[in-house]
Symmetry: C2
Subunit: 498 residues, 2 copies
């Protein structure tokens, strides 16, 4: 039970599972093995262990947290949470579902419904674990709140067309901590996992899965203390090892359009190894070329009074949309060329570093020339915008009246927002195709027995750059991590029935 | 050698390979097994058989041809073919490569270079097999020529920005036959495959692959004469079973944005089974969410004088681009809403059925109202366009002067080109990640020993809707099918070396 197995250390590839027959000795075993100890892994661990499953987590880093513990600590939750109600917002599961369904062209019916209906319970469950949320709202338009206020308008709720599809309510729930609250969130979850009896092994790099002849997953190979060791999973393996933004090859392969043009974000171990293991064991990939892309031009919120234009001098988005939606649409303009045009009273430097001024001029006509836009293109766009903005209207993209103000007081600035020049930041959203329970499916829709995935090893409810909202990934990872933990703990392998 | 193997017929899934150890008897064997007998399969067969490999093709239909034999019979070839030279066009491998590289944001350096450099030889090889090409050009802008003329401007060569990146030359090479020339092309290839000694079995549906413990591919299971039979591949299996446009589930999973909005095209067996086999055997998927989409609004070519506008009344593309590029950009406009605005002298009904008139009015202002576009948006766009068109310029999208004419003679028409309303047609481009030799790679970039893919089971040089040109798929399938046939025939399995 304590000896290593294989002499082929250097030959392991994540996407090349090891046949069960070649395993001579198991180093360790558990009912449920969890690969990766971030937001998804810790929640899977809590629920698996609470279901009386012997639960073992293998984490590559020397401590837990993953990308969750690096984040602001937002969860995208709704349907009428305690905080939403206390702040006077009337949300419902139906309203949340309508919004989520509008956020992608591919809403998985079962998964989206379960999330919408389960959000309130999930919030209460987190509170029950000691995760604190204040009954307060951060009203300022920003991409990261630094206070301990809870609610943030963290998506496109108030922007068109979403505002016409679902009643706008804020759903970004920040854990009560000043600055980034991810560490506090994770520490509370970690406490709960330990109390539930989870065993955790750090500095343990999972190499690949071990599969039976029938293709079911029997365990995994991991590198620990300089040795390659086999770990047996009596019930199931749950892949929770994060996205692939930090792996140059996978990024280039699946998101070539943006490779080399953006800043990948995540923790250094977001290298897609968990995903590759699942793909190699017959799991189907879903939305692998989808991502979250942000153009963090606000704060300051006042820049929202500007207009984005492309190389044709045309507007293309409601500027009061979430920075992710704007980032996606901006990055798809011809040649990736985009400027934010704004006048003196509303201009201020973006708080995020990396933005440059492309030009400042005394008139829009001069700005148009300086940017080498087609003659009269920008002038025409600004005139059109101003004429309607003066009347509180935006007939093109229905930017909300609160953000409409004619662009008329010189000097005028053009903030450089072109792809490859502005600090666009990206992480991957795609993952393995799973049921809501985390059960991994093949391209035929067949279950890969014994294999589960959650967080960014799975394709959850976060699957579209145009519709992403802050907090969706951690909301999704913690929520579906729990379901996967319970499902794996409850599995009775076929062989047990013999 | 002639008995079936498995009693589990109903349980085979394409993406779930069978372990070699469970195969009790091989029904048949060959050096090279080819799955699917369309353009890729037949070329793989010719080269494998000519390399002295015992070559066996398994085809699900009762005859060969696949989607290649249903097509117009164009191959996208260049670099200075006999026809190009005879028609007075000066192309080179470098010029072709520049164009191909501009057609996608992800040009595989090796694969693209080999294609560009090998095109002339490939053309001559086809001629050597008796495939006829006339030294003539079809000058009319169309999406399908019905004459036996050879050269067609079948891509975006003359449209901006391509015209500035590579010297524009026509590269669509139509096999010399009136009407669709796909059947003639295939019949000549079929003749060559038979002469080379290929064995061909029709009515044979390949079910899944057979893999060794080490993950290498040893053969496949196929359904033949009502029986599930195992076929051994001594050297390799080549997947050439076509795209997945006809499989609703795969289409929805990988191209959800367009599912239910477009007409999938291909032959009924383009159901992705070959692709699923490769994915289940550890092959990585590449560009699975990419596709060719056409908005076949021309012929008549005169409609090119119109302008496309979106729901904001904005133009978004050079209207003299290839219908595939226009289809892609049109389908991505907000809400998918697009109209072609044109005046009386240039209007004619599209030859393709399925287009409706959204409105006809006596003035652009009335047309704007009838289409419920924002007030003065269309008027502004048309004024801007007309002003420059009168001078032979298109400062926004550089439509070429030959197609510029002010839109000024009433009545004015708006042709309905919105996604879901116009007859957009789509097929899948993505496939397995391979080397130029067709060797399939895993997500780790590791070779899946014994497995090859070509045509739309692989991701070749056709990988972008914005850059697609007619004839690329058949050019690519026949070209890389040959390379795969040669590579598989030359493989010496590891076990042979022991």
């Amino acid at each position: 039970m304590l000896v290593l197995v294989s002499e082929h250390s250097s030959t392991f590839h994540a996407a090349h599972p090891v046949p069960r027959a070649s395993v001579e000795l198991w180093h360790d075993e558990a009912d449920v093995l969890i690969v990766g100890y971030g937001g998804a892994g810790v929640c899977a661990a809590i629920e698996a262990a609470r279901s009386s499953a012997d639960t073992l987590v293998l984490e590559r880093a020397s401590g837990g947290g993953g990308t969750t513990a690096m984040a602001g600590g937002y969860l995208y939750l709704g349907g009428g949470t305690r905080v939403q109600r206390a702040c006077g917002f009337d949300d419902s599961a139906e309203n949340l579902l309508r919004y989520l369904e509008a956020s992608t062209n591919d809403p998985d019916p079962e998964m989206f419904r379960i999330y919408a209906e389960g959000c309130v319970e999930h919030f209460d469950w987190l509170v029950g674990l000691g995760v604190p949320f204040n009954d307060s709202i951060h009203e300022i338009r920003t991409n990261q709140a630094h206070t301990d206020e809870c609610l943030l308008w963290s998506g496109n709720e108030k922007a068109w067309p979403f505002c016409e599809i679902a009643t706008p309510v804020p759903r970004g729930h920040k854990v009560a901590d000043e600055g980034d609250a991810g560490p506090l969130l994770f520490s509370k979850l970690h406490e709960a996992a330990r109390e539930a009896g989870t065993r955790i092994r750090y500095d343990t790099r999972v190499l690949t899965l071990i599969v039976e002849d029938d293709g079911s997953v029997a365990g995994l190979m991991a590198r620990q203390a300089g040795k390659d060791r086999a770990f047996r999973a009596r019930r199931g393996v749950i892949l929770c090892a994060g996205g692939f933004a930090m792996d140059d090859a996978m990024f280039k392969r699946h998101i070539p359009r943006l490779a080399g043009q953006v800043i990948p974000i995540g923790n250094p171990y977001d290298d897609g190894a968990g995903l590759r293991m699942g793909l190699g064991a017959r799991g189907a990939g879903l939305h692998l070329s989808d991502y979250h892309i942000t153009l963090p031009f606000y704060p300051p919120a006042s820049l929202t009074y500007g207009i984005f234009v492309n190389a044709q001098g045309q507007r293309f988005v409601a500027e009061d949309a979430y920075h992710g939606r704007i980032g996606e649409l901006a990055s798809r303009q011809p040649g990736g060329t985009v400027y934010l045009i704004i006048d003196e009273p509303h201009f201020d430097r973006p708080e995020m570093e990396g933005f440059e001024l492309a030009a400042t001029e005394g008139s829009i006509a001069d700005l148009e020339r300086a940017l080498e836009l087609p003659q009269s293109s920008l002038v025409t766009s600004v005139d059109f915008y101003n004429r309607h903005a003066a009347e509180g209207a935006d007939p093109l993209f229905r930017k909300q009246p609160a953000w409409l103000s004619p662009i008329q007081d010189a000097p005028f600035a053009a903030l450089e927002c072109s792809l490859g020049k502005a600090p666009y930041m990206v992480f991957s959203l795609g993952g393995l195709w799973t049921l809501a329970t985390g059960e991994v499916l093949s391209e035929d829709g067949e279950r890969v027995e014994g294999l589960y995935a959650a967080g960014r090893n799975s394709c959850g409810i976060a699957r579209s750059a145009e519709g992403y909202a802050s907090g969706t990934c951690i909301g999704d990872a913690t929520f579906f991590g729990r379901l996967a933990g319970r499902a794996a703990a409850a599995r009775v392998p076929e062989s047990d029935g013999l």
